[in-house]
């Protein structure tokens, strides 16, 4: 016999102002099985919870319905209360009479009637609720970090320092990411390499960290606590454990004219190369698209000069499969393609550069050895125009298909560029065209003001409309909104603060991970405010610019936060699973495999099982079994099962049908 208790919450006036809570409680009392029904000011308060606990004991309740706010808000609160009173926590249902009733209906009659129906549906469901016990599944105490930029490195270091093994998978031949390409960092102007390379070395030498460079994740199976990840190790053609990084091969290679991606194509490297001096691992790699030996078998110079015999032209891509308990995405960003913005003449003049290119031009290890020289003629520029917001802050559907978001880092790095330029070359005039200067951050606005006030950078509110290269100068047509005049500046260089977007590999990776993304291909967080470093997919964590534009301090902070979350997970020996999982009734199962085909988690397997027939004979039948630790409880299997053998605990066919009945009554 069911003994159901119904508790109707006023939520102050939130519910009580448009729902007659007393009437709801009275109506509920008349429902079959209900032995207790009451209304109360705040059910989620301690007193409210005590009311539930006391009533369970007093009335010996077999089920509880709380009519209150959304179950997404307080279902757990009430489950705990129910559990504390000795009742299974899954014998509770919440009727959502606030968000889905009192808050949307103004008419008290409407609101009350609907609340009664919703309560009735919850009662109809709760009498069919079965006590559920959450299972557990073990946690593999290793983490995978995808991406070896500053975000990935920091996350890996923090996890490793907590005592857990970490693998970093980096698609390029070295870790370091974008930060390795930067010159100085704002707002302190310390050199990027000076603060990054020690971390790269630390990661390389950490006994708990393994770096899989020149590798890509190509398959992910499993679930939180026990992921199985397939990693492709691209052929390097150089034995990583043999190469000493002496660099002789990179000096002798006859193929000299390969654009150097580390310097954004502004100078050249060889076909066998080490990306940069501080690369980690410091191991050469052969670029198969340019190596003569690999392309047509003619050359072999590097093998001849290598004294340790590290060259292996026959190397093949290999695959490894590893187990992890948690995965951190740290895939970072790329500047956007600016083909559509050629009013700034980027494709027409070498002296129009992106900010990242400017970064390399300023860098002592860059193509100009740190001297600021015009790429076109190697002369020292005297007038430099910086253009902000190139491709950022555009309305959706704009002709140039720009990004609707603010890229966040451009204002600060442009202030840095402007300041450094003026500091090193006081004979240059520097103009920054901006729409707004956005400098929230510790010491950021001070930094920007210093650029304007102490370094004499000309900040002009307005945009550049056209850049015309003519007779060796860049005729910049711009607008000064404060002066209200069109400006014509003859510049030597133009620097475009190009919008940033997620790395191209992020979208396919998200699909592999079943992690969700927003329309801009940034990974979405489980909650924008309260769970900013977790993906909604359990066991997937987010670090750095893959989640949204970020500067270095923010990236490092998020990297640490993601690491803390990972450590929190890996510290457990097992995790509690969602008990609302699919379950197959073997008696009804046909063994047809349809459920197995739709299961996104591979949670369903088949076994041949013996059944005793009524006539005492034994029949062997193929039947499905659900791995409850793997099942996430979507219910896709329940609908393809024609015999109704497959059902979902907590959302059973019977329960949902009862709700339909109660609503349509």
């Amino acid at each position: 016999m069911h003994r159901i208790g119904v508790f109707v919450c006023h939520c102050g006036t939130n519910i009580a102002s448009t729902v007659d809570v007393k009437a709801v409680a009275e109506a509920a009392a008349k429902e079959p099985g209900v032995v207790f029904s009451a209304d109360y000011q705040y059910m989620c308060s301690e007193a409210g919870q005590n009311l539930i606990k006391d009533t369970i004991k007093e009335k010996n309740l077999t089920g509880v319905v709380v009519c209150s706010c959304s179950p997404r808000m307080h279902e757990n609160t009430f489950r705990k209360a129910v559990s504390a009173a000795g009742l299974n926590p899954y014998l509770l249902e919440v009727a959502n009479i606030r968000e889905q009733c009192s808050w949307i209906h103004k008419d008290i009659k409407d609101g009350t009637e609907k609340a009664i129906v919703l309560t009735r549906a919850a009662i109809a469901k709760v009498v069919l609720n079965a006590p559920l016990v959450a299972g557990t599944s073990p946690v593999t105490k290793r983490a995978l970090v995808i991406g070896g930029g500053i975000a990935g490195i920091q996350t890996a270091l923090d996890i490793a320092d907590a005592g857990f093994e970490v693998d970093i998978v980096e698609k390029r031949p070295t870790i370091g990411g974008k930060m390795a390409q930067l010159d100085k960092t704002f707002p302190t102007l310390d050199c990027a390499a000076c603060i990054l390379t020690p971390k790269m070395v630390e990661a390389a030498q950490h006994e708990k960290i393994r770096i899989l460079s020149y590798s890509e994740v190509c398959g992910v199976k499993g679930f939180v606590g026990s992921f199985k990840v397939k990693i492709k190790r691209k052929a390097r053609f150089v034995k990583e454990d043999v190469c000493t990084g002496c660099g002789l091969c990179t000096e002798k290679c006859p193929m000299k004219r390969v654009p150097n991606e580390f310097n954004l194509g502004m100078d050249e490297r060889r076909a066998i190369y080490i990306p940069f001096a501080q690369a980690v691992p410091k191991v050469a790699v052969i670029d198969p698209d340019h190596c003569n030996m690999l392309k047509n078998g003619k050359c072999g110079v590097c093998a001849k000069v290598c004294s340790v015999g590290a060259i292996d032209y026959k190397a093949q891509d290999s695959f490894v499969e590893e187990d992890y308990g948690a995965i951190v995405v740290a895939t970072g960003f790329e500047p956007i393609n600016i083909d559509a913005y050629d009013e700034f003449a980027y494709s027409q003049s070498k002296d129009v550069v992106t900010s990242l290119e400017y970064e390399r031009l300023m860098n002592a290890a860059g193509p100009t050895g740190g001297k600021l020289l015009r790429p076109s003629d190697g002369k020292h520029p005297h007038t430099i125009v910086f253009v902000q917001c190139v491709g950022s802050r555009e309305s959706d559907g704009s002709p140039k298909c720009g990004k609707s978001y603010c890229s966040k880092i451009c204002c600060m790095y442009t202030a840095k560029h402007a300041m450094l330029t003026r500091e090193k070359y006081p004979d240059t005039e520097v103009y920054v065209f901006y729409i707004d200067v956005r400098t929230p951050g510790k010491g950021f606005d001070e930094f920007y003001r210093r650029a304007a006030e102490q370094y004499g950078v000309h900040y002009v509110k307005g945009m550049v409309g056209k850049v015309v290269p003519e007779n060796g100068v860049l005729k910049v047509r711009a607008f000064d909104l404060i002066a209200g005049e069109q400006l014509q500046i003859n510049a030597d260089m133009v620097v475009l603060a190009t919008a940033i977007e997620p790395d191209k590999t992020a979208r396919p990776l998200a699909t592999l991970l079943t992690a969700s993304m927003d329309t801009n291909d940034f990974f979405t967080e489980a909650h924008p405010k309260l769970r900013p470093v977790e993906s909604p997919t359990a066991g997937i964590f987010l670090s750095g610019a893959c989640q949204g534009p970020k500067d270095i301090p923010e990236t490092v902070a998020q990297a640490g936060a993601a690491a803390a979350k990972v450590v929190g997970l890996l510290a457990k020996d097992s995790i509690v699973c969602n008990p609302c999982v699919a379950h197959s009734d073997e008696k009804l199962c046909n063994g047809c495999s349809r459920c197995e085909r739709v299961c996104p988690y591979g949670a369903i397997t088949y076994v041949d099982k013996e059944f005793k027939m009524p006539d005492r004979s034994i029949k062997i039948r193929r039947v499905s079994q659900v791995n409850e630790a793997v099942c996430q409880g979507c219910g896709a299997c329940t609908v393809v099962c024609p015999s109704g053998a497959m059902d979902l605990k907590g959302f059973s066919t019977e329960q949902l049908r009862a709700e339909v009945d109660a609503i349509c009554k």
Partner: protein, 265 residues
């Protein structure tokens, strides 16, 4: 022989006969017949931007309807006509407000909902004939002559409607020049307006713009500028007299294909 419906426009029947005739000769040489729409009306020369301008769009719609009923594709040549007709076609396809009112006007003449595909002669050369094919047919190559393409505004903008090429860094005329054996000179003002629309209103201003464009082209090494628009041609050639030579791109094409002599002025 492929056949397309063709809309020459008012100027190509008068002051810019050569632009038109060279195009037809070249097209024929390349295996394309341009079939002039019968009884076409002037497009008006400038696209009316206001949402309530309905009557001014009718002549374009009538041309579009005829083309729909003929070959389904309408080839234009004059930049202004191309711009007006293509924009009106977009309105008829996507703007219910305009389409309904235009169709109310049309009444018994039939209904139109943007079914026709509008392409510029250059797009036809690129997509139907192919620049590689043109390259093969060249009999008098341009021998590396340095030529600057002048697009102006109308071929490219509004980019979302025209979908002609990258509006900020177009290549189509450059690719044609190179197919004909010339050397394309890229200069930034090739997609800036020459100001010819105000030639009756403010001739000096129009001339000033034209000079600026010519200077930019010259400074980047152009020995010749080619245009697709009679108005641009007039402005660059007459209003801004002197300096670098200006020609229609069709003349260049006819010359290279060896069919220029077919035109008898």
């Amino acid at each position: 022989m492929m056949t397309f419906s063709y809309y020459p426009g008012c100027t190509l029947k008068n002051k810019a006969k050569d632009l038109d005739e060279y195009a037809r000769l070249s097209a024929r040489a390349l295996g394309v017949e341009l079939e002039e729409l019968n009884e076409w009306q002037c497009c008006g020369g400038v696209y009316p931007l206001s949402k309530d301008e309905i009557a001014t769009k009718l002549s374009s719609v009538r041309a579009l309807m005829k083309a729909r009923d003929n070959s389904g594709t309408l080839v234009t040549l004059c930049s202004a006509c191309h711009n007006v007709i293509k924009q009106v076609n977009r309105d008829m396809l996507t703007d219910d407000y305009i389409a309904t009112r235009v169709n109310n006007y049309l009444g018994a003449d039939g209904q139109y909902h943007g079914e026709t595909k509008v392409i510029h002669f250059l797009e036809m050369l690129r997509d139907t004939v192919g620049f590689d094919e043109i390259k093969k047919r060249v009999v008098k190559p341009l021998n590396g002559k340095k030529i600057g393409a002048y697009y102006g505004c109308l071929l490219l903008r509004p980019a979302k409607t025209m979908q002609f090429d990258n509006a900020e860094n177009p290549r189509i005329i450059e690719d044609l020049i190179e197919a004909l054996g010339g050397e394309a000179v890229i200069y930034a003002e090739r997609n800036e307006c020459c100001g010819a629309y105000v030639t009756l209103e403010d001739k000096d201003f129009a001339a000033k713009r034209a000079v600026s464009i010519k200077n930019n082209a010259e400074s980047m090494g152009a020995e010749l500028i080619v245009t697709a628009c009679p108005l641009c041609q007039y402005n660059l050639k007459v209003n801004a007299a002197g300096g670098v030579e200006v020609k229609y791109f069709t003349e260049l094409l006819a010359e290279a294909l060896g069919v220029k002599e077919g035109f008898d002025e």
